[in-house]
Symmetry: C2
Subunit: 354 residues, 2 copies
């Protein structure tokens, strides 16, 4: 830290992304990436856009917004695209949280929420999950705070049904409720259908997981037009050209190629069911997952040991060194071949250890 | 604005980017884009990267940073890449400005500085330029504030010599001085050589203009390692994967293709000299420009009228509706053919008007 760094950030501890080691070739099951390449249509449109990079991208992303609006059944003025969904989440913290409107979210959820709160100097409350990692709906009613719920939640993988999400939204008419649907496409129910009914609901999604575009950085928010206007005010006050031409083009291709998207989501869900079976057969327990990862623990091997032994065998999973999470590992669902390699490695480790 | 929008932003007026109309095909001389496509190497590497978008980009941008460090003659830990240079400028406002450290910049400069100050709730002071649009160095000594200087300045195009920049940096040992070099490659002197001598200097640059990559969104900051560490803390607290894979690859290609870069910068400077000659022959006055634009006025046609008449003829330039600027237009230097079309249109307008 330099002696010039603003005192307001003196105690800031930034978010730590999943490791991206370069020392050897790993099977990467640690950052919830898709094992499938982006849609051929997405690739082709992105490549075409590379020739026009001398011209600024459209700050309004009109073509992408129009297509997304059509696919989601909303109006174009109800969508805002951002540089990954981290950007729209940060915009929501900026626009809807302040000293009078603290943020509230579960104690176990996306690890970036407390970081967003701190960088924006916003107070926040972390509500404990139930013993089974469930979100207790009644804790989230009548808070008069800005609520952030990842649905499905991370790293647990557990999804709330739409009716529960609606109870939370309806139960906080004086506060914004942000539903972070980064993983919604793997079997959970989206709250997008509620945005015209509730003026306090912002739904965020990403192209990183189900659309195979983590490396393109594309996310978006959906909400009533006034919320989107607020968030646009923030965008045009920080980075009006936040989406580059190639990513915008890839996004259009990814949305257009509905069949490819559906096929990949189905493949992940099938491989998830197979992986869950294999893990349970070996004594692991894991909450039912509606995401592209499973969150599993074994009574005979502690979480950190399993993580380290898998790493030695060239398989990366994500281990969180926090009290309630340390028994577990978050394992991304890769291709069927990758998961077979993972299960074989698990078998070797269990044999060595038990 | 929604009723939920934080009061702290109630009076926020966002930055207005240059218009990008779609109603007809214009000769665009209004947003300082390059008339040349990006380097073939940049295009080719970007296209290759489109196949790997399912994987996150490297948050540390190691390969790009290593090449840039080599080209600039600095260490890798002295560089940070961002999603356009707007992002590094915003990071600098976040990291180095607060109630005790107001921002200070000229009253006529990049219009985004006051917006960055407002979105970050930072007080700011605007120091008037001289009558001839010059920055008065003595006004910037011993301020104990965070100084932002665009060099060359926009929209005037005027550059300060390196010795004057050094006086400002040396004259503010207790405050950060940010030198925004968006336009430095068109004939001005960069302050990058000073970063190892002064721990309070941050230099920012962009690939948008001289590297033909406005649509790719790539900028960076150069400063001593502790400043870069501060700015990384901000980055990892807002958007760790701020640069996508395709832009990162294009940046590597653009840096590698030194000959293409030099050739394009020379072409712009030659066309600028020709354009300036033509304008002066027709009675325009304009400060000497070290950028890819000229800032010109004519005694017989007011700025707004000229802007509107050019627009009717299919040529876009940028007019600023502010008291000291309203006589002028900022005209991007395009290709020689575009500037010939521009001068012909000017001739027609002068004939009609005078």
């Amino acid at each position: 830290m330099s002696r010039y760094f603003s005192q307001k950030y003196a105690s800031l501890v930034p978010y730590t992304p999943g490791e991206q080691p370069k020392d050897m070739r790993y099977i990467k099951l640690n950052t919830n990436e898709s094992p499938f390449p982006p849609s051929p249509m997405a690739q082709s449109l992105a490549r075409q856009a590379a020739g026009d990079l001398n011209l600024y991208s459209d700050p309004e992303c009109r073509e992408l917004v129009a297509l997304a609006a059509q696919k989601l059944g909303v109006q174009p003025d109800q969508i805002l695209f951002t540089n990954g969904s981290d950007e729209i989440l940060n915009f929501a913290f900026m626009a809807y949280c302040d000293q009078e409107h603290p943020a509230v979210f579960p104690d176990i959820t996306y690890g970036f929420y407390p970081v967003f709160a701190k960088i924006n100097n916003v107070p926040y409350v972390q509500l404990p999950l139930g013993e089974d990692f469930s979100i207790r709906i009644e804790d989230y009613i009548g808070l008069n705070k800005t609520v952030f719920i990842a649905n499905p939640n991370a790293p647990t993988g557990i999804a709330l049904p739409l009716a529960d999400i609606e109870r939370i939204v309806a139960g906080n008419p004086d506060g914004i409720v942000v539903i972070d649907e980064a993983y919604v496409d793997f079997g959970a129910q989206s709250a997008v259908s509620l945005i015209s009914k509730y003026d306090n609901l912002l739904v965020t999604q990403t192209f990183s997981k189900s659309r195979s575009m983590a490396g393109a950085r594309l996310g978006f928010g959906v909400g009533n037009a006034k919320l989107i206007q607020d968030l646009n005010t923030v965008k045009y006050s920080t980075n009006p050209y936040n989406i580059n031409r190639m990513t915008m083009a890839a996004g259009i291709g990814a949305l257009a190629d509905e069949a490819y998207f559906q096929k990949n989501c189905r493949a992940i869900m099938e491989t998830r069911a197979w992986t869950m079976d294999m893990l349970r057969q070996r004594g692991f327990t894991a909450p039912e997952s509606m995401t592209n990862f499973v969150f599993a623990k074994h009574p005979g091997v502690d979480g950190k040991t399993l993580y380290q032994k898998l790493r030695q065998k060239g398989i990366l999973v994500r281990h969180f060194d926090a009290p309630k999470l340390t028994d577990y590992n978050r394992i991304t669902i890769g291709s069927q071949e990758q998961m077979q390699a993972f299960i074989s490695a698990v078998d070797e480790i269990l044999e060595e250890t038990l």
